[in-house]
């Protein structure tokens, strides 16, 4: 058994397996950002006037803002004028009516990624919306969902078919002026997913969106809006991959969740954007704003995220606990390997009475990876009997990585009960040797120990995705033993 450092040096010899590029004709606008580009995007998508105005307002606000600098991450300044803000597979100009009209090469891409777009091949249970570069390519199971009254599909379609719903809720959780990247997204977002679950409906299947960045020099700015009306339930999963490229690519998404009275939204993310090579070259900058609003009493929003990819991850899926007795949950596994950096966590804003939040964060750092948990728990004046439980565990592999915890707690109500626990540990030689002595290989042993560490989070994922997440973790940390 070689020494710890040597083992860490052997880290991740496996190549990023989703690093291929699909050769499709694309309709890509020239790099650069100004009001004309925004008008162009809006025009290409045939948007109503109010949405264009909304975008322009966001853009004008964005111009006055500066990039946030407080995160525990480092990168070269981003040149926003060198990014192309719209790229679409060409055949998609008018939009495919059904799967038969989708470019077979795209379907092949999704097949390679293991995304079951072909309805006939699906085992059942998961409806998928797939976003390729800037546009949504196909949505499966649309009819079955429609029977239940669930609206699920691309954001662009929703703008055309359900403009009132979009207009009523868009930007009500993450306002255009919320932060630098959210403002940018509001100005230039090109597509994303939209979901509305009507009153009292339990969505009959898991919903899923798959995001893929393919073209080079493009950013991906998708927007997701999910509304769970009174007494409804929906479970939603997003997955992400990108080709291997030497340059950094920007992904600045906004996700808004709205849960009305007695509604529940479960939102799970398995994020595997290209993380860059072992020297830190290339990779996705994943600067994402995700926020859920527990607007009604007894509503509940759960965020579960497994973040294994991206060069830099900057995201804080948060909950505004507005309704009385509402519940917010955040379960996170963030892995940083090689030169990956993650600054992630959550905000739990308690406004209503008897609101409860739970935060379980597991950070894993290997090689030169830097992992920061940043979390805010705010108990407002009127939040009688608010409860929060936070637990942050960090696992270090090797001696060149870092784990950091930045908890912020603000309490304005003396009846609040806020608990915070944090631990940092290493995979111990004793644990590893114990497994080896039972005949288990080093790799399997590390997998087993790391998965054990993440168990509390994985069990929150829908079954099939939990299996995927475990595999992904194994691949990401292959050879990373310390």
């Amino acid at each position: 058994m070689p020494g710890q450092n040597e083992q860490v040096e052997n880290l991740v010899k496996t190549e990023y397996e989703h690093g291929f590029v699909t050769d499709v004709d694309t309709d890509t606008v020239a790099p650069g950002l100004n009001e004309d580009v925004i008008r162009l995007i809006s025009n290409k998508k045939g948007e109503p006037e109010w949405l264009l105005e909304w975008r322009l307002k966001a853009y004008r606000h964005w111009l006055k803002m500066t990039e946030p600098r407080w995160a525990h991450v480092h990168h070269e300044p981003i040149n926003y004028q060198s990014i192309s803000y719209y790229s679409a597979p060409k055949s998609k100009k008018t939009g495919p009516k059904n799967l038969d009209e989708v470019d077979p090469k795209l379907l092949e891409t999704y097949a390679k990624l293991g995304i079951p777009l072909q309805e006939q091949k699906m085992l059942a249970g998961v409806a998928v919306d797939a976003v390729f570069d800037s546009v949504s390519v196909a949505t499966t199971f649309k009819e079955k969902l429609a029977e239940a009254g669930v609206i699920f599909g691309s954001f662009s379609e929703a703008v055309q078919n359900h403009p009132d719903l979009v207009r009523q809720y868009l930007g009500t959780v993450v306002p255009t002026s919320d932060n630098f990247f959210a403002a940018l997204n509001s100005a230039v977002f090109t597509d994303g997913s939209f979901c509305y679950v009507p009153k009292g409906v339990r969505c009959p299947m898991e919903l899923s969106t798959y995001f893929r960045i393919n073209a080079s020099n493009t950013g991906q700015f998708e927007r997701t809006l999910i509304i769970a009306d009174e007494g409804s339930y929906v479970s939603y999963l997003e997955g992400c991959t990108a080709p291997m490229r030497d340059e950094n690519q920007l992904h600045a998404a906004v996700v808004e969740l709205i849960a009305l009275e007695n509604a529940r939204i479960k939102y799970s993310t398995v994020q595997n954007w290209y993380p860059g090579d072992e020297n830190g070259k290339g990779g996705i900058y994943n600067f994402v704003t995700k926020r859920g609003d527990c607007r009604g009493n007894h509503s509940r929003i759960s965020w579960t995220q497994v973040e294994t990819g991206s060069a830099i991850t900057w995201k804080y899926p948060s909950c505004i606990l507005r309704g009385d007795h509402s519940v917010g949950e955040f379960y996170s596994v963030a892995v940083t390997n090689n030169y990956q950096q993650a600054d992630t966590g959550t905000k739990m804003i308690h406004i209503g009475k008897n609101t409860k939040s739970t935060i379980i964060s597991k950070g894993i750092s290997a090689r030169h990876g830097q992992n920061a948990y940043r979390g805010l728990v705010r108990i407002g004046k009127g939040a009688e009997n608010a409860r929060n439980y936070t637990r942050c565990d960090s696992l270090l592999m090797g001696d060149q990585c870092g784990a950091h915890t930045f908890p912020y707690i603000e309490t304005r109500n003396s009846s609040a009960k806020v608990e915070h626990e944090a631990t940092t540990s290493k995979i111990s030689d004793d644990q590893l040797f114990y497994c080896l002595q039972r005949g288990i290989s080093e790799e399997d042993a590390v997998n087993m120990i790391v998965n054990g560490f993440c168990k509390e989070v994985f069990r929150e994922l829908p079954m099939e995705f939990a299996v995927e997440a475990q595999k992904l973790l194994g691949i990401t940390l292959e050879g990373a033993i310390g």
Partner: protein, 251 residues
């Protein structure tokens, strides 16, 4: 089965084993006794291939193969089992899950088919009886929240499932009350057979009242200074380790 010749080994550069000679044959039970710091646990760890335990001189042959050339997991798959003195806790890893992975790794190595969940559970149910393992310990994380006695029982339970050719039990009796000692010793006796060699590393004669060894060796300052049958253990109990040491010096 096991032939150790002139074995010298260091831990952190410090020589602990200073020329051990020992031969263990199939079906035999050897007890290695000695005062604290004599090198008993070091010998057990060297045999299991633990990182940081370096062989500087001598040879260990296991079934004719040079043991020092084998990675620890290969030794395990070839039938060497170490019952740990301090079994480690692995949070979040199910006790049974680890054991299933271990058993299937061993079976695969032997060219046998892996057991499916049903077959494995049947085996586990059967082997739990060996040390009267409690049901709830099966579904818990490896050793997490186990009492000292439960940890030691879990080790022998694992041995019962993995069926090693050579079991090295490192101070398996330490920290056990008399009832637990009887259960653990009873379990070991059930697992004693003609195909299996057992090396008991122990400080006290106590365990040997329940498990009668074929051979007893006294280890002091990194060497085996006296070997004999079970009567040697009884003499030790009566006269103490100093007696053997003095006898050796006198000789």
């Amino acid at each position: 089965m096991l032939q150790i010749k002139n074995l010298h080994a260091t831990v952190d550069g410090k020589e602990i084993l200073k020329g051990i000679d020992l031969a263990v044959n199939t079906g035999e039970v050897h007890a290695i006794m000695g005062p604290n710091g004599s090198g008993k646990s070091t010998l057990a760890n060297v045999l299991a291939g633990r990182d940081g335990y370096e062989i500087t001189q001598g040879t260990i042959l296991y079934n004719g193969q040079d043991l020092s050339k084998m990675a620890p997991e290969i030794r395990a798959r070839e039938g060497i089992f170490l019952a740990f003195q301090y079994p480690v806790e692995i949070p979040g890893v199910n006790n049974i899950y680890l054991l299933k992975a271990a058993l299937n790794a061993v079976r695969k190595h032997r060219g046998e088919p892996e057991l499916d969940a049903v077959e494995f559970l049947a085996l586990v149910r059967d082997r739990m009886k060996v040390v009267a393992m409690k049901d709830d310990l099966m579904s818990r994380s490896v050793n997490e929240g186990f009492s000292g006695g439960e940890k030691k029982r879990n080790e022998i339970f694992q041995m019962a499932v993995l069926e090693p050719a050579l079991a090295i039990l490192d101070e398996t009796d330490s920290g056990l009350d008399i009832d637990a000692l009887k259960i653990v010793a009873g379990g070991i006796n059930q697992l004693r057979n003609r195909e299996r060699a057992i090396v008991l590393v122990t400080h006290y004669q106590r365990l040997l009242g329940y498990i009668v060894p074929d051979f007893v060796h006294v280890l002091a300052d990194g060497k085996i200074i006296k070997s004999g049958d079970r009567n040697l253990a009884l003499q030790l109990e009566e006269k103490g380790y100093d007696w053997v040491k003095q006898e050796t010096v006198a000789a």
